[in-house]
Structures are given as structure tokens and as C-alpha cells.
């Protein structure tokens, strides 16, 4: 492992339509760290992940991910090279619906498998064995032949994690991997994600505070596009989280504050 940090941001500003989405003075992530990013909707969590995966250009500043400068839009070849080392678990259960679970896991090997084999989906036997191992690790080997769109939401997210295992990335970015999952499935997916990231750096966007200890030893709170706190998990308490999600009363925006009484009135 190199001495250079896994991720470093220096006075980064991301803006769109004249509105600052993310403003970070300095942020460094060492290799092997487990980080959770929390914050209200629109706080810049997804922007941060998109910035790190090279999907989002920044207005100014310096970003270095896995030793690559993401200053200007990368040429396609370099962007692909970065994505090979970067595992992504996206919000919308990104699988190829018409392929089987095993074939979806094998997609993780497309960074290594090239040429006619990648075109005809004739993967070499060792890769298939690895894919079966990955499915076994997430407990879905019995479902290997089932098509992705026949799997439940939790199973699909597990297939995505098996794809990560197959890919073997050095950095994993997960954007709300437990959205739309029931609590038991969410906890299971978090544990598997953590296992998949045993030798990698893991950055997860997550809303449910009860999942934080499963996923992270360091928590970054984002508010209005700025880092509100950056603390080890032990130092994060309920008060800090409540403050983070507290609606604004200041000049920047106006939220409706709904007291519990209002809701019951509306419903009755």
C-alpha cells in the first residue's frame, strides 16, 4: 500500500447553476478507513461521491483519488482505469435485469476480462469459480441461475456486493445501499458490505443512525454542502445527529416545521 492517502481534497468547490453544492476546505482519507457520510437531503453527500468517482466535475480545487488527480475531466481511458479500482454500490439497485445473478457478478470482472470473451460473455473458468465464491460469500449461491429481476430488493443489493467482491476494488463508494430495505436486510447488507471492504477503503452514505456502528469508524456530517463535523464514531452522539438534521431557521432556506400534533390533525 502506498504512503499517499487514498483520498485527499484541497479547498474544493462544486457548483451548479451558480449554487454551491459542496465546499470542502480539506479532507484526507487514509487507506483502509471506514467512513460514513451523513446529512440532510441536498447536503452534498451524493455530490461528494460523484466527485470521487469522477462523474462530477468540480469548479475549483484539487482532488486526488487513488493517486490520480481529478482536476479536469479525465480522458475516457483513464476514467475507466479509475473505475476498475473503484467499487460502486448505487442507490437504484444497478444490475442488468435480464442476466442471471451469476452473470451480474461476472460483470465485476470486466475490468480484467477483455477482448472477445467480454463481448460474448464467455468468461474464463477461474473467473466463474471466483464469481460463485463471491455469491457464496453473500449467501446467494442457490440463486446463482436466477434472473436479477426475479430477486428481492435485499438479494439484488447482495448481488451488487458480490460484484464488488469480484471486482476487488481498493476504494468502495456506497450511496445509501440500504435504501428501501427492511431493517433486518439493511443490517445484513451493511455487514456484508463491511466484509467486502476488508482490504479496501469504504465510504458509505447512510441515513439510519443505527447502522453507523456497522459501517464506520469515522463519521463525516455534511450540512449545506459543508463539513459540519468529522469525528470518530465513538464521539458521535444523538445530539450531534439531531443538530445535523435540524431544519434551517436561518436566512438560507425555509422549511416547514411540523410538530407531531399537526400530523395527527392532518390524518384525522
Amino acid at each position: 500500500m502506498s504512503i499517499a492517502p487514498c483520498i485527499s481534497l484541497q479547498s474544493v468547490l462544486c457548483a451548479a447553476d451558480g449554487r454551491a453544492l459542496l465546499e470542502v476546505g480539506q479532507l484526507t482519507v487514509r487507506h483502509g478507513e471506514r467512513i460514513a457520510v451523513v446529512g440532510h437531503n441536498g447536503a452534498g453527500k451524493s455530490t461528494l461521491l460523484r466527485l470521487l468517482s469522477g462523474f462530477m466535475p468540480m469548479t475549483h480545487g484539487q482532488v486526488e483519488v487513488l493517486g490520480r488527480q481529478l482536476g479536469q475531466p479525465l480522458p475516457a481511458a483513464q476514467l475507466r482505469a479509475l473505475r476498475r479500482e473503484l467499487g460502486q454500490v448505487l442507490q437504484g439497485l444497478h444490475l442488468v435485469a435480464r442476466l442471471s445473478a451469476l452473470d451480474n457478478v461476472l460483470i465485476g470482472s470486466l475490468g480484467r476480462v477483455t477482448g472477445w470473451r467480454s463481448w460474448t460473455r464467455c468468461f474464463p473458468a477461474p473467473e466463474i469459480a471466483r464469481a460463485e465464491q463471491a455469491l457464496h460469500a453473500v449467501g446467494l449461491l442457490p440463486r446463482a441461475g436466477m434472473r436479477a429481476d426475479r430477486l428481492s430488493g435485499g438479494e439484488r443489493q447482495k448481488v451488487a456486493i458480490a460484484r464488488l467482491l469480484m471486482q476487488g476494488p481498493r476504494l468502495i463508494l456506497a450511496d445509501e445501499p440500504t435504501a428501501a430495505l427492511d431493517p433486518a436486510a439493511a443490517a445484513e447488507v451493511c455487514l456484508l458490505l463491511r466484509k467486502a471492504a476488508a482490504t479496501a477503503t469504504l465510504i458509505t452514505v447512510v441515513h439510519n443512525p443505527s447502522l453507523l456502528p456497522l459501517l464506520a469508524d469515522r463519521v463525516i456530517g455534511l450540512r449545506q454542502g459543508r463539513i459540519a463535523f468529522d469525528l470518530p464514531i465513538a464521539a458521535v452522539d444523538d445530539e450531534k445527529l439531531v443538530n445535523l438534521y435540524r431544519p434551517d431557521t436561518g436566512e438560507e432556506s425555509q422549511h416547514w416545521q411540523i410538530a407531531p400534533g399537526d400530523i395527527s390533525e392532518t390524518l384525522s
Partner: protein
């Protein structure tokens, strides 16, 4: 004075809502009344002199399809002149067996015309569909041109294409194949473009996110998403074309249509019944087969 009428609704909402539907229904009923009324006034609604008797006679002949004669026909049917001399004897069984053999050949011709015509249509339509699919953002001028070609192809009936083509390439299956190909190109183009437009972007993102290049992205995400719909449209239009090509014989393209023309021209309803039984069997069995394949692919 009546109360002033409410503001005229915007054009796009003119037909919406309950009143709009009522209005549309009224327009429809008026159209029906106009069609029926004008035909009645021109005295064009008659059913002929004795429809019941004609119906019974035709139905009776249909009820005895000619193929039965191949086994139960009279082997020594004698044709006599008015004074009773035997002009010739005919073995009905042999005649109908020959007819059945010809029917088999005609069926095979129809299947060949439909199959090759469908394939031709699909191949011609594929590039045009890629150009017209809105999510692929082809150059505007090319997209309009391709859409124009597809619209023209779809609106000209196979029979019209066939009549023109017979004049160009002569009588025979070639004219039928080209006619079917040109007309179904329009249908294929529309179905293919729709398949491409409903592409699953999440699948593409999934393959892209592991750093795969454009080739693997196409073959691992686009192709598996689009292929089943392509195959299903192909089977659907193919089946349609089998039905369509039975009519093409009317214009001399050969096949079952030719036998249908012959039988109707000679008022041989028994033979027509035999041909129609083959057509129905062909369409029904192809439909069952293609439905099974389509469910397997869905």
C-alpha cells in the same frame, strides 16, 4: 339571454373530462348514423334476393371440404352428356390427392415467402430503427428521413407493393418476398425503435461502473436488454406475415393465395374450405409456437 358560456377549454384539454368523452361519443354516433343513413338512402343495404337459401347452400358445400374426397370420393365418377353417353370417368380420389399434393407445395411456398420476407423486413428496419430511436440522438435530418421511410412503408399495403413489384420482377415468390419485406419494414422499425427507447439505463450504468469499455457495455448491458424484445417483435410480425402472404397469391406471387383465387373464381367452396383449413392450422400452430417462445424469453 342565456348565461354566458364558460371559457373555452384549451385545445389540448378539449376532449378530456366527462363532458369531452360525451362529446366524442356523440360525434361517433353521428358518424355511424351518417354511414348507415346514406347507404340506406342509396338502397345499398340489401342482402340479395334469397340470402337464407344461398347461405344454406354455401354452408353445405363448406361443410364438405374437398380433401375428404381423397379417401371417400367416388373412384368412377362418370360425366355423361344429355343423351346418356359417358363422356369420361374420373377417379375423384386421385384428383383430390393430386390437389392435396399441390396444396402442400403451395403451403411451403407461402411459408418461404413469409419467412424470407419477414427476415428482409427486419434487416432493413434495424438501421432505420437505430436512427429513429429518440434516446440514441441520431442527427435530426437522418432521423426524419428514416422515420419518413418507415411511415411510407407502413402505410402502403402489402398487396399494393406486390402489384407494383410483379410489374418489376415478374410473377412469382420473389415479388411476394419483396412486398412483404417492404411493408413489414415499417412495422419492424416502429417496434424495434420502441425496444431501444425502453432501454434499461441502470444496467448500462452497472457495467460502466466497473470500468468496462463501450464494447463490453454494449454486449453485456444493451444487447441482453434489447434482444428479447427484438425476437418477440420478429415472431409477432412473422406470424402476421404468414397470414398476409396467403393473400399475396391473388396477385400471382404464388402460394396458398393462388389456390384461394382459383377456388373462389370457380365457386369451388369445398376446395376453398380445404385451403382455409390449412391457413387456419398454419396460423394457429405458428401462434402457439411463437407465444411459447415469447413467454420463454420474457
Amino acid at each position: 339571454m342565456l348565461a354566458s358560456a364558460p371559457g373555452r377549454p384549451a385545445p389540448s384539454r378539449r376532449f378530456s373530462g366527462r363532458l369531452g368523452f360525451l362529446g366524442l361519443t356523440l360525434i361517433y354516433l353521428l358518424l355511424i348514423a351518417a354511414c348507415l343513413g346514406s347507404l340506406a338512402r342509396e338502397d345499398e343495404l340489401s342482402l340479395g334476393r334469397n340470402p337464407i337459401a344461398n347461405l344454406m347452400k354455401t354452408a353445405g358445400e363448406f361443410a364438405r371440404p374437398s380433401f375428404l374426397d381423397a379417401w371417400f370420393g367416388n373412384p368412377h365418377l362418370e360425366y355423361r352428356s344429355d343423351d346418356g353417353t359417358v363422356l369420361r370417368t374420373e377417379n375423384r380420389q386421385m384428383v383430390e390427392r393430386d390437389y392435396l399434393a399441390g396444396l402442400g407445395r403451395a403451403t411451403w411456398t407461402t411459408i418461404r415467402i413469409a419467412t424470407l420476407g419477414s427476415l428482409l423486413g427486419a434487416l432493413l428496419a434495424l438501421p432505420l430503427a437505430v436512427l429513429t430511436a429518440r434516446n440514441l440522438n441520431a442527427p435530426r435530418a437522418m432521423a426524419w428521413l428514416a422515420k419518413g421511410i418507415l411511415d411510407v412503408a407502413r402505410s402502403i399495403h402489402t398487396l399494393v407493393f406486390g402489384l407494383v413489384l410483379v410489374g418489376i420482377v415478374g410473377l412469382g415468390p420473389t415479388a411476394g418476398i419483396l412486398a412483404i419485406g417492404l411493408h413489414s419494414m415499417g412495422t419492424y422499425g416502429k417496434l424495434f425503435a420502441e425496444a431501444i427507447e425502453s432501454l434499461d439505463m441502470a444496467a448500462i450504468d452497472a457495467v460502466r461502473s466497473v470500468g468496462a469499455g463501450p464494447g463490453p457495455v454494449f454486449f453485456n448491458a444493451v444487447w441482453p436488454s434489447v434482444l428479447p424484445q427484438f425476437v418477440s417483435s420478429h415472431l409477432y410480425v412473422w406470424e402476421f406475415n404468414i397470414r398476409d402472404s396467403t393473400v399475396l397469391g391473388l396477385i400471382g406471387a404464388g402460394g396458398l393465395g393462388l389456390l384461394i383465387t382459383e377456388a373462389t373464381a370457380l365457386f369451388q367452396w369445398g376446395r376453398l374450405a380445404t385451403v382455409l383449413i390449412v391457413v387456419i392450422a398454419l396460423v394457429v400452430s405458428f401462434d402457439a409456437l411463437s407465444r411459447r417462445i415469447r413467454t420463454a424469453l420474457a
